[in-house]
């Protein structure tokens, strides 16, 4: 039961993260904002709706949301909780986790292309380009974590905190993970989750043709993905596994809330990057990751 606690918590609480982000953004711009639990309400509403599909699309269109949700859930299963390792941990599982997320993205991209819309094609091309740039950054970052881990798996690499006070290079890791969180979850400064302007969207425009339960799968899947990156960021900083379980859980959940608030703060204080500048952000994150890896190995 302990082993599954984190997975259950993630499945139940993940939709709360977008709620916190939206609340922070609303408060900072002087509005009350939508309810904290709005994502749950949205999911409940979407599940009850019917699905409308274009006559020209194939079986790929409904497959995209299912695969993206399933892969996000698998990646989450491999992530350790604050009180113990993942039940499915094995050496090298971080590669499986990263490519599960990649497979989910691929499925959504193919579904977007399947719809045949010019908007969705544009969105798919942008998503593919940026995720191709984000992938090496993620791996460099995970390697930096793995360099001195007792066990080369997500469970071995995360939750131990920044090892010792003399590891300044490890300070980059949460920053890089946070940038990846913003990129992979289509937040400002990479994408704008609130915009209605099809021509500027990345992720949102890919899912325009989905409706009803399919859309619910996408919304829920992206909450899980957000939880994955937020939890990885928290676990890379805080030594929650070394604490008593209750304290560990409390600190972990508080950490997640802080990450969500930080996302809200970023979104409230800056504009989106010009689309062609996004690779520079990822390039900078990659450079930091490489530097962190070199320093970790060298020590």
């Amino acid at each position: 039961m302990d082993a599954l606690a984190h997975l259950l918590a993630a499945l139940l609480l993940a939709p709360l993260l977008p709620g916190i982000i939206n609340r922070v953004k609303a408060r900072l711009s002087g509005r009350v904002g939508r309810p904290l639990f709005q994502t749950y309400f949205d999911l409940a509403r979407l599940v009850q709706k019917g699905v409308v599909e274009s006559e020209t699309s194939s079986w790929m269109l409904p497959l995209g949301p299912v695969v993206s949700l399933a892969t996000a859930a698998i990646a989450l299963t491999l992530l350790p909780g604050p009180a113990g390792p993942s039940p499915a941990a094995f050496t090298g599982d971080f590669i499986l986790a990263a490519y599960c997320l990649g497979l989910g993205r691929l499925a959504l991209i193919l579904a977007a292309l399947d719809s045949g819309s010019s908007f969705e094609g544009m969105g798919a091309s942008r998503e593919a380009a940026f995720s191709a740039l984000a992938e090496p950054v993620l791996f460099l970052c995970l390697l930096a974590l793995a360099a001195d881990a007792p066990d080369i798996s997500l469970s071995g690499m995360l939750g131990r905190g920044l090892t010792g006070s003399l590891a300044p290079e490890r300070l980059f890791v949460p920053v890089i993970l946070f940038i990846l969180l913003l990129t992979e979850n289509c937040r400002i400064p990479v994408d704008d989750p609130n915009t209605h302007l099809e021509l500027t969207m990345i992720h949102e425009v890919m899912v325009l043709d989905h409706s009803g339960p399919d859309m619910a799968a996408i919304v829920y899947g992206s909450s899980l993905k957000l939880w994955f990156f937020a939890a990885a960021t928290v676990l890379s900083v805080l030594p929650v596994r070394a604490m008593p379980p209750v304290a560990g859980w409390a600190v972990f959940l508080a950490g997640l809330a802080v990450v969500a608030i930080a996302v809200g703060l970023v979104e409230s204080s800056m504009a989106r990057l010009r689309l062609i500048r996004v690779p520079r952000l990822l390039g900078a994150a990659g450079t930091l990751a490489a530097l962190s890896l070199v320093l970790t190995v060298w020590r």
Binding site: L28, I188, P189, M270
Partner: protein, 494 residues
């Protein structure tokens, strides 16, 4: 023939020029720095007579050129691109063919009323400019949009993310206002004016008032005109504030977007204080205004204006101190001043290209202290310049309102116009609305009623500017470029 902008002319005094002479006159004047304000047709006896109204910003002179009745003439567009859309309109409305026009397509898809033999095209159904080649793709947006905005169709020819060409096709909002005005003015006329472009109610109704006052040779009382001008600047403030907020929203910059949404409402509420309607409906009437301001309202205006001014300046300052937002604005959607001059751009986009075009300076309203609102010019020509010009214009407008309300002329606000207008006369009304120069031209028939009434909204000049500004830009920057022009669909379609 030339005449001052605030005088009516008898149509009999304007000779019907031979077509070659008409064409040569237009081209010579444009080459000498005149601007085409309107190119349309008078009904004539049986066959339409193309006419061209030109203006010179330097001294407020207008020139009215009238061609002999014809159904075809040699197009002006190849030599004078600012006639491009006017000639398409002339062809669509009157069936007058501009021979050699490079892009003769429908403007509003209305069909040609006088030529039932020509088939009426379906809305938006026409050939579009296409780029072919490997990796070139076409993106069509609209007329149904994701946001709550007016309908318009945009065709992008893209190479990857880069826009090679944008073609804009409008006409979905056509209501036939100009045709409905013929035979007026009557009780409906002023309401047509107020809804020609709903967000420019004051601008269009002031232009219409100017036309009728010029026709009748009556000047509005100073107090009425001053209140009208205050309302015009409030309209500018509300819309410029909304634009700053929308520009911030398009680049995902929350704070200014959220603040400006509220502050725009505050400015609209100030207009409501003048006349009871947030968009200024019912305020401006030919001969002055329908409402006077008493001391209590003036005091209330003063306090609320001060609070709103502080809020608006704060929101603008936030935007201009955000490096991430400025990085999006700078260098985006640039238009050279040569291109802007060639296509006859007006309003803030023209001033952002360094062109000193402002009807408040060139053609000030009668009874208005002439040049009391400084013109804001920037020469960069991009989204940044258009945003900055808007911000500076807000400051200038607030100063003007403060000064005017502090020293409002005494007396009545309205003067009755005569029941009948002089026959066979032409008068022009020019007002700098918040989008740019609004031009109304009325020509009366032998009975003193409108034989033709031409409305040129600034959008009519500027839509093509947006298309040009997008060349070589990222397609993802289109919404931002579009907002930086913020043109009217219904003002264009009428």
């Amino acid at each position: 023939m030339e005449f001052p902008y605030n005088q009516a002319i008898a149509l009999a005094e304007a000779p019907r020029l031979p077509l070659a002479r008409f064409r040569q006159d237009v081209l010579t004047r444009v080459a000498a720095g005149w601007r085409v304000l309107a190119l349309f047709a008078l009904p004539g006896d049986d066959i339409p007579e193309p006419v061209c109204l030109l203006g010179r910003d330097r001294d407020g002179r207008l020139a009215f050129l009238r061609a002999e009745p014809t159904l075809a003439y040699v197009s002006l567009t190849p030599e004078c691109p600012q006639c491009h859309l006017f000639e398409r309109e002339l062809y669509e409305q009157w069936g007058v063919v501009p021979e050699g026009h490079p892009w003769l397509k429908p403007v509003r898809f209305t069909g040609t009323p006088g030529r039932p033999d020509l088939p009426r095209p379906g809305p938006g159904v026409t050939d579009y400019f296409q780029v072919r080649g490997e990796d070139v793709h076409e993106v069509a947006v609209g007329p149904v949009h994701a946001g709550i905005i007016e309908p318009g169709h945009f065709r992008f020819q893209c190479f990857g993310e880069e826009v090679l060409h944008l073609e804009i096709s409008l006409g979905f909002q056509h209501r036939g206002i100009e045709a409905a005005l013929v035979g007026g003015p009557d009780r409906r006329t002023v309401h047509f004016m107020e809804t020609a472009a709903g967000d420019t109610t004051i601008g269009h109704s002031l232009a219409h008032a100017a036309v009728l006052e010029t026709l009748a040779g009556v000047a509005a009382p100073a107090r009425g005109r001053a209140i009208g001008r205050v309302a015009l600047e409030l309209e500018r403030l509300a819309n410029h504030t909304g634009d700053l907020g929308a520009l911030a929203g398009d680049v995902g910059y929350q704070p200014t977007m959220a603040f400006c949404g509220r502050i725009r409402g505050d400015f609209l509420n100030l207009t409501a204080l003048l006349c009871g309607n947030r968009f200024g409906r019912g305020l401006v009437r030919p001969g002055g205004t329908a409402f006077d301001l008493d001391e209590a309202v003036l005091r209330l205006l003063d306090t609320r204006l001060e609070a709103t001014r502080r809020a608006a300046f704060g929101a603008a300052e936030l935007l201009f101190s955000s490096s991430s937002a400025l990085a999006r604005f700078e260098g985006t959607g640039r238009l050279t001043s040569e291109a802007a001059r060639d296509i006859g751009l007006v309003g803030p986009p023209a001033r952002a290209c360094g062109l000193p075009r402002d009807a408040r300076h060139s053609f000030p309203l009668s009874g208005a202290g002439a040049k009391d609102i400084p013109m804001q010019i920037h020469d960069f020509g991009g989204v940044y310049a258009r945003t900055l010009v808007r911000r500076l214009e807000m400051e200038a407008s607030l100063d003007f309102i403060d000064a005017t309300l502090a020293d409002l002329p005494p007396g009545p606000v309205n003067r009755a116009l005569p029941a009948t207008f002089p026959p066979d006369t032409l008068a022009v009304g020019l007002v700098e609305g918040w989008r740019g120069e609004i031009c109304h031209v009325a020509a009366t028939g032998p009975d003193g009623r409108f034989a033709a009434y031409k409305i040129v909204d600034p959008s009519f000049h500027n839509w093509f500017g947006l298309a040009l500004a997008l060349r070589g830009q990222q397609i993802s920057d289109f919404p931002m470029c579009n907002k930086s022009f913020n043109l009217s669909y219904c003002g264009h379609d009428l």
